[in-house]
Structures are given as structure tokens and as C-alpha cells.
Symmetry: C2
Amino acid sequence: MARFLKNFPPGPLDYYRKRASFDWKQMKLFIDTEEITEYEHNVYRELEKYPEYNVNNLTPRSLDERRHLALKQALAYRTIELLSLQSLISDLKRPAASTRIMMQYFPDSTIKYSVTDRLFTSAIVNMGSDRHLHFVSDAEEGKATVVMPGGMRTTATYDVRNKHFILHSPDFEAAKCWTGGLGQCSTHAIVYAKLLLKGVDYGLHAFIVPVRDAKTLLPYPGLKIGDMGEKIGLNGLDNGFVQFNNYKLPRENLLNKFGDVTEDGEYVTPIKDPNKRHGAALGSLSGGRVNIACICEAMGTKAITIAVRYAAIRKQFGPDPHEEIPILEYQTHQYRLLPYLAAVYVLRIFNTFFNEAYFKFSLDNILGNNKDILPDLGVEIHAISSASKPLAGWIMKDAIQECREACGGHGYLKASNIGEIRNDHDANLTYEGENYVLIQQTSNWLLKLWILVLDKNKISTPLHSADFLTDAGHILRQKFAATTTNELCQLESIIPIYQWLVCHLLQMTHNKIESLISSGNSSFWAKNNSQVFYAKSLATVFIQHFFLKQMIEKISEADDLSVKNVLQKICLLYGLWSLDKHVGILYQGGYAHGPDASILIQESILKLCADLKDEAVSLVDAVAAPDFIVNSVLGASDGMVYKHLESAIYSSPYGLERPTWWRDVVNCNGDIKNKL
Amino acid sequence: MARFLKNFPPGPLDYYRKRASFDWKQMKLFIDTEEITEYEHNVYRELEKYPEYNVNNLTPRSLDERRHLALKQALAYRTIELLSLQSLISDLKRPAASTRIMMQYFPDSTIKYSVTDRLFTSAIVNMGSDRHLHFVSDAEEGKATVVMPGGMRTTATYDVRNKHFILHSPDFEAAKCWTGGLGQCSTHAIVYAKLLLKGVDYGLHAFIVPVRDAKTLLPYPGLKIGDMGEKIGLNGLDNGFVQFNNYKLPRENLLNKFGDVTEDGEYVTPIKDPNKRHGAALGSLSGGRVNIACICEAMGTKAITIAVRYAAIRKQFGPDPHEEIPILEYQTHQYRLLPYLAAVYVLRIFNTFFNEAYFKFSLDNILGNNKDILPDLGVEIHAISSASKPLAGWIMKDAIQECREACGGHGYLKASNIGEIRNDHDANLTYEGENYVLIQQTSNWLLKLWILVLDKNKISTPLHSADFLTDAGHILRQKFAATTTNELCQLESIIPIYQWLVCHLLQMTHNKIESLISSGNSSFWAKNNSQVFYAKSLATVFIQHFFLKQMIEKISEADDLSVKNVLQKICLLYGLWSLDKHVGILYQGGYAHGPDASILIQESILKLCADLKDEAVSLVDAVAAPDFIVNSVLGASDGMVYKHLESAIYSSPYGLERPTWWRDVVNCNGDIKNKL
């Protein structure tokens, strides 16, 4: 047993801890590996040493104080060896593990570090050439930030006479908005602009653009740069905008790996097979999304940790008027929380797999290994991440909100921390690709595969996410088979249902688009008008199937039978609970008839909830961050909710003091006498 | 045409305003009445005169500043004649109208006013007697607040020798938490405590308890009182707690309308027919919930105003690469927003009806009118409000969140205002009765009626919300009848489906409880274990049916055909979109067979969305608050999104300035040279 997993202090959570059928330490070591558990332990110990991190994220701070703290934390981040790229590469499970820790701890400074240090370097490496390497060495001391592609109307016109580009944004609407780190701190930015050569538009290209004087941090003339202002969350991060007014830029600052401009203003490109390049590039661009799915899981983990522990402590009237029972005993409360706890597990296992796969792909890409499969793998990573990022975002959004409500009034306290989690998580839903647009990438990929299926081709992709489509004909002839909850509550029963859903929705979406086109719609509108109820549902069931597939593979590796047993229930709960939301499709498509399917699914969900309620606290223990990171009066591992609540309230400056403006209250009260 | 409805300035929203099939002013005058439209106009004009209100709710403020501002606003509120009880009573549509205005403007100070002034007085009037009237006259100058029943473990033991009560809370867990206004300002509180006389427990009774010295605002000895601290939202409101330590209270301070204690410690009660009293009391206690459903609608209205206007302005790539189209043109975006716009209309019409019915009931109750129907009416108001409050809260929670996401990255800006709306709305989900517990009141009432139905009784309730149950036998034999979207898109088609859903779920829930009891469960656990998929769904479809019923009645009064036509579509969209979430029940219960029902419902929803996209901006215009209340850079009525965005960013202190701690950034950059 690893020495870095300590027992929890005895306390009111023992009631449930003793009822769990499995050992939470065995669970943790199994799902995360022993190496990663030790790694996490070491990171926690390391963080304790940094004064920048030994602060409470709930302390009231002005926007300026938050920004300053985030800068100091981002600078500290750089110096933590365990979080360096070298450390992460040494075990490809570390990237997800470090994301889980740091995004639960201080998400704003973590993102600030990531966009100013990590993304900048990778953009230069991926898109630049030797002539840009000096930026990388400078960047290792950290002074730049990457601009995400935003408004596309900035132009870079090459001035042949003066041998430089002229960057220009026609109006504020064309300004690059939202770039993390650009608001106050960065000296350079990578800007996507439309390349214009002798009046010809060559499309978007990336440029490295100095924006502020590194000595004074004042902006250069010819551009307007500034901060977006206060946001709903992540306020330590300085999101910024930049708008160019005929700003001159040396020719060399074009990132020229895939296309360059000669001194005379001719366009040259080394790309010979654009398709091959396309796949690998798509994969590389998926990094943000792969990471965000993990961020979503991390934030949901923090919320569910709080809500489950609180549900185990908080009591309500029960059948006996003299004895209250924990709200976790109520069916409604189990149904509200446990499917999200299951989703956290499903996502943790998926993200561990997918982050590792992505980082291996990226290394291979840089090192030139496995060149044969990289294009297909890149395309598949792109398709999977285009659905896993939105789904993880949406599930965890609902999870966090349900956790907030399930904590009742006390969940509305800032000291519960759930409000902060929600506000920070919210950004995941709209950055790095608008979710509803993004998820179309997945359905588009599946629709392309469907053409191959219709032509009787065998489908085989590097991550095997869609191989089952080969058998679509057979799958589409199947029917809902279970007749008892026991039959339904088997991992082997769930997968065929999801496979049918994917095949059915693929067929429906394909036919819908075809029929819209044949009735005169352009392919643009045919696709757009097949999203709701078709393409979006398709991408959703596809990724849910893949989540379940990864979970089942992981479960098959479990040696500890009690761990295996509870993970099976978690997998089934997530699978059936998600299925219940698609039950109309089962009937619509003729997969199910009569009341049984729907009732069996619902009864199975409630049975699994009841089975898992005694496991819930230990399940949380196995994935929860330490108390100093969870940082909630409701969610501490000792379960002493009311002690923490009382001390938080009493120790706040507002707790027991009258306000400085108390006379404004008294004066309005007039000369009321003491009525006692 | 009322002179108080001004045309909007010309601008980019004209594109859609010109496409609407109806006149937004006619719509507004129809749904709100001419009198209320004028009333709103007068309130807006009045608010402009108050410096306390002429402030921006988005300006960064410390918790202390927010509290101080809210106090000043709550004091100003008292002096606004149009918002006084007298004014509200003069037209019983005014309560809902004033809630809509003030809860969109400054919800925290509005609640502060309401709980310190309004609720206090009504509690004394409803529960006290002549001996408490001096508190009312004092309260008219405002110095007290009502404690909501929270922790139930505080006791009031009568000390016969000293003729006073001794209030005691055994520990912090038993402290009364969350009372609005108690945190910093109030001098008196109404406390529910368990009355103990000579060792006998007489249950909860209300006491008026002085808690702070009105001259110094310092707390009295024998109690601990203070503030709950910072919250997720509503931070101007000082929610507080109080904990008693053998605190002495005069005998007269028991609110004794329904039970009193003699000097000798004997319990006396004037109640002869507790059932009759019970019904009226239930109705009276519904006031908070009736109001909250309206608050939810108000907050949702503000969010949808922002998101729809932004969707009409914000453009994305379209079929032609050189021309972008408004995102409102996309099917996905229509589906994301328009059902919530429909829900806002449905709730507005329901709340107008229900607030008026509630206030009429309250006046009758106080004046002694209509005594015959008041008990039944009270029970029905309780049952309806126990479902309308949770449903309104949940729908508008989803609406606000969807609006936030539909505004993309810019929705994440504080200046969009959607984050504030979400954080403030969040309280609606957990105060005044936990939603999942509350909604059981509705299903319990329906289950009692079901027993009557099974005994072949005619059901007839004062508001006619459940009269159709009389025909349950007939209703349960019906099947899904529509065969085309045109047939389905009729108001007459929707109602029978919902009636079938209510009857079917009533039967299912009743049978489920019976079967759990006959298999040995106590009635407590039988009820608890019939909530998910049964009782909760039952209460949901019941209240949705009642929402639709009220809407259809209102539509039938419309003279303007274009108004009538668009309201029908709104009603259908809300009804079918909600129905789509119950489609599994239609199949499970044998009401629908084969693919048609599900596909027709979905096709109808998309058709209605497409029909309504050109109406959406004008529909918003008819319900939107003025710009100074909406207060969003994305949602102004002139549609100048980028102008407002630009000026908000440039005018913020963070816009273009470097931070005071810029040297911390520069020093870390080392001696990098200017690369340009």
C-alpha cells in the first residue's frame, strides 16, 4: 500500500466509509496507477512550499489583486520542476494528472501559465522555422502569448517596396478578442491574419507580432491593445484584445512552416500532399480540446466531492420524527448526485486514456515516428475531441449546478466554493470552439465513414472508436433484448444499445441531409438543418459509446473484485442514465416496443443508485483533491460541516461586527425603544 | 396607442423588427394591459429621480459597499408611492409588474425591502393579535425582519415563575440561518421555535424577538447574531443567523392568533375547525412562492432579452464565404433560444394570472370575504405554487445558462450582465422551500384527488386546475391522434396529450406507492421511493398543463389577429418542446406507437422555431425592460453591440492602462530586446 495515501481522520463520514464494499485506496491506485498517485502526492508537497500558492482562492480580492496574484502564481508555476514539460513527458499520464490538480487549485493562473508559456512555444515549433527559434529561447524566460484565432478580418498586406507586412484591423469588430495573457502582460502575440499578396487573398496565416515594449510594458504605436475587463470567472487571467492600425511587421515574422513570402512578395509552400499534412495538423490543434475535457472533469470532481460529502452529513426529517436521516438516503437525492459521480469516473478514465493517446501522438509527430498512422490518428483525435470537449463541458456544467442546488442554502455561500467552480467552469463551454459548432466536426466525420459503410467497406481507425460501423447492417436489425433489470444491468447489454443508437442516427442524419438536398437545399443549409435531433444527437451517442468502451476496457484490467464490481455499477449507471435521455429514439426507431424498455431502464437506474449510495463517500475519497484544494466548508474530508461553517462565519470580518455605516440603519429606525 | 411606448432608435435590429408579423406595442398592451404598461412607465420615471438607483449594478464594489448601497436602496424603496402596498392593492396586476421591474433592476435591495418591511408586517397581521400592533407601527418606520423557518431545534420553554419564555438553540446547527436582513440591520426577528410547556412539546410557534438595540445596533446579551458572509449572488442582502443561549422573552411576544400561553403556562387555542384554518393558512404561506415564480420569469426575461438581441446582431460564416449571416438564422441557435423565449411568455401570462388570484385571495382572507371557498382555494394555491415555483426556477435556470452560452465568449464578460443574472437567480432554486421537497406537495394533493376520482367523484376546484381529472377514465383511453405537423400544431391538440400525461402518471404513481406499501414499505418510504420518474414527473406535467391552459385562455381574449397568431405559436412551441422531454412516457404508457409521434413532435418544434425566428426580436421588445435596467453591452435596444462593447472596454480602468505592478512582469522578462 502506497505510503502517500493517508487514512482520513475519524468523524461523521465514517458511517458511510465503513459501509463501502471496497477499499478507496485500491480504487485510487487502480484508476490512476501507483506512479501517478505518487506523482500527485509529490506535487501537493511541492505546492505547499510556495507562498504564491498558500493563499485562499475565496479571500475577497479586487480585480487588480487577482491579476497580480495570478501573475505571481504563473511565474511560480514555471519553476516547479514536476510540472515542467520534461516531467510531463517522462510519464504520459502526468499531463492529465497535473491538469486535475492545478485546475482544481487555481484555474486562472494555471491557464495563464499554459497560454503564455506552453502554447506559445508549441505554436513556434509547429508553425515556424529556424528563423523563429530565438523567440523560443526568449519565451523560455516567458514574455509572449498566443492569440487564438478569433475575428478573421485582420489583414496582413505585404509591402514589396519596404519588405514588410502591414497589419490592419478595419474596426473594433475585427479586433482579436479574448486572448489569454494579452490583456496586461504579454510582449508578443501570435496573430492569425489574412495574407494579401499583390491583391490576392492567401487565407489565414500566423505571424509573431511584438505588441509591447519588454522594458516598459507599454504598447507599440500602430496598435491598440488592452484588457477585456472583468469576467464571470477566471478573473486572474488577463484576457485581452488587439487592434492594428497599419502596423508594420518584418517579413521574417510570418510563421513559415507551411507557406512563406519571398522578398519580392511571391508565395511559396513546401506542402506537397495537403491531405496528409491536414490530418496531423488537425490532431495537433486538438490539444486544447483534449485538455479542456480534463479540465471539465477536474472541476466536476471538485463539485461532486463537496456535494456528496455534504449529503452524507446533512440530515432531514425521516420516518421517525425524533430521528433525522442523511439526505443521501433519499431516492431523489441519490438520483440527483450519483449519475454525476458516475460521470466523473467515466470521464476520469476516458481522459486518462485520451490525454495519453494525444501526447503520444504529439511526440510521434514531433519526432517523426509512426508516420503511417499519424494522419488518420490526427483526424480521429480531432473527431473524438470535438465531441468529448462539448460533452464533458455540458455534463459537468449540469453536475456542478446540481451539486450547488443539492447543497441547499449553504451551497449558495461563497465559502461552499461551488459558485466559484461554476463561474470558472463556465468558460469551458465557449472557448476553444463553440460547442455546437465544434460537435459538428464529429458528426461530419461519422457521415464520411457512413458513405464507406454504405459501400461495404470495413471501418478500422487507429483508436477503434468507430470500428463497429462495419457491422451496421447487423446492428440495425437488433432489438431491445433485456426482460429484467438483471439482464439489462450487464456491461454486455449496454454496448449494443449504444451501437444501435449510433447506426440508427447515422442513417437518419444521412437520409435527412440527402432529402434536404434533393428538395433543393444547398449542402450548407442541408447540414445546418439536420443538426437538432439528428447530427448533434449522433455525435452525442457516439462519444458516450466511446466513453463506455474505454471504461469497460479499463474495468477488464481490474484484479480487485470489489473494485471491479463497483466500477461496473458506475459504468452501468452512467450508461443507463444517459440512455434514459435517448429513450424516445429507441421507440422512434423501432428498437423498443411497449412499456418494458423504458421501465426497465428507469428501474435499473434507481436500483444502481440505491446500490451505490453506500459507496458514494468512498468513491469520492478515491478521486477527491486534498482539503486545501477542495477548500469548501461543506466538503472537507473530516465531514465536520457545522464546525467549518461556524468558524468561517465567525472569523469573517462580517460575522459578528456591525457595519461601519450602522448609524444609517439606526437613524432610519428613529427613536424606537427597546421592546424587551 | 399609448404615449408611453416609444419606438426604438433605428439601427441593426431593424432587419428583424421589420420582419415581425405583429406590432410589438399591441402585443405588450395585450399581455400586460394598458393600465400596467402605463404603471411601468411611471415607475421607470420615478426610479430615475432616485440617486440610490442611478448607479450601475455592474460597477465593482466591495461586499461592504454593496451592503451599504442595498440599505440605501431599500430605504428609498419605502418612499416610492407607486411601489407601496396601497398602490399595489389598487390594481392587483401591479404586484407582478413591480416584481418584474424591481427584480430585474436591483434584486438584492428589492428582497431586502420585501423581507424587512413587507413580510414582517404581514406576519404580525397573520399570526399576531392586538398586543403586537405596536410592532407594526414601529415597523412602518422599518426596523425588523422575518426569520424564515430554518433549523427547527430552537426551543421556547415557558418559565412559569418568571412569566417569560426562555429561547435556546443547543448548538450552531440549530441556529436560524439565512434570514434576509438579519445579518447586519434588523432589530427584531420573528423566530419559529418549539414551544415547551411543563415538559410537553406543542410544536413550532412564532415569536417576535428583539435582537439588537435600536439605538446602537449592538446585539443583546444571550444571543449570538451575525452575517452569513459573502454569497454566490444577491450580495447586497445581509443574510444572517441567530443562536440563542437561554435568552429571556416576554410572554406577550408569542404571536398568539392560533395558540397562546396563559400566565400560568397553560396552552389555549381559538381554533375550532383546524382543517378550515389549515387551507387558508396554506394559501397565505404561498405568497413567497407565488412571488418567486414571477422573480424567475423576470430574471429569465432579462437574460433572453440579451441573448436574442445579440443573436440578431452577431454574425457567423454562411453559405457565401463573403457574407456572414446572423446566428439567429441557424436552426441550432433557434432551438437553443426560442423555446425559452416561449417559456418567458407562458410564465408571464401565468404569473400575471396567478399573482392576481393570490392577492385577491389574501385580501379576501384579511377582509373576511368569500369565506366558503377560501379553504379550498388556499389548498389549491398551495398545490399550484408548490409546482410553479420549482418549475419556473428550473426553466429559467436553464434559460439563463443557455443565454449565457449562446452569447459565446462575450457572454462571459461581466459587462454582458448574464453572469450576475445567473448568480442572483440561483437563490430562487433553494430558498422558500427546497424545490424537490416542495414539488411533493403538488403530487400529494393530486394523489388525494385521485382517490376521489377512483370513487367516481366529480373534481371541481376553485381555479379549475384539476377539473379534467373527472374524465380520467375517458382520457386514459385516448391515443396520440395527429398524423401531420399541421394537425399537431393546434392548441386543441396539445391539451389532451398533457391531460393524458397527468392521468397516466397519477395512475402510475398511485399504483407504485400502493405496491411499495403492500410489499412492506412504510408509507414514508413508499412515497419517497416513488418520486423519481413518478411523483415528480406527475407534478411537472400537471403544472405545465396549467401553464398552457392559462395561456390558451389568454389567447382566446386577443382581438388583434397577428398578436393572436404569434401567441399561438409560442404556446405550441413551449408545449411541444416540453412534451418532447416526456416522449418516453407517451410510448411507455401506450399512448403513442411507432415512429410518428416522436418525429411529428420534433418536426413541429423545428417548424415553430423557424416560424418564430423573424418574430423573436419584436417578441423580446414587448417584454424587455428598458436599457438602463437590462444594462448589458450585448442586449441594448439599439443593437449597437460592438459600439457598447468597445466603449465598455475602453472606459474601464483596465482597458488600456498597464497594471501598477508592471515591473513584476518586466523583471521576469529580463533584458529582452525589442524584436521589431
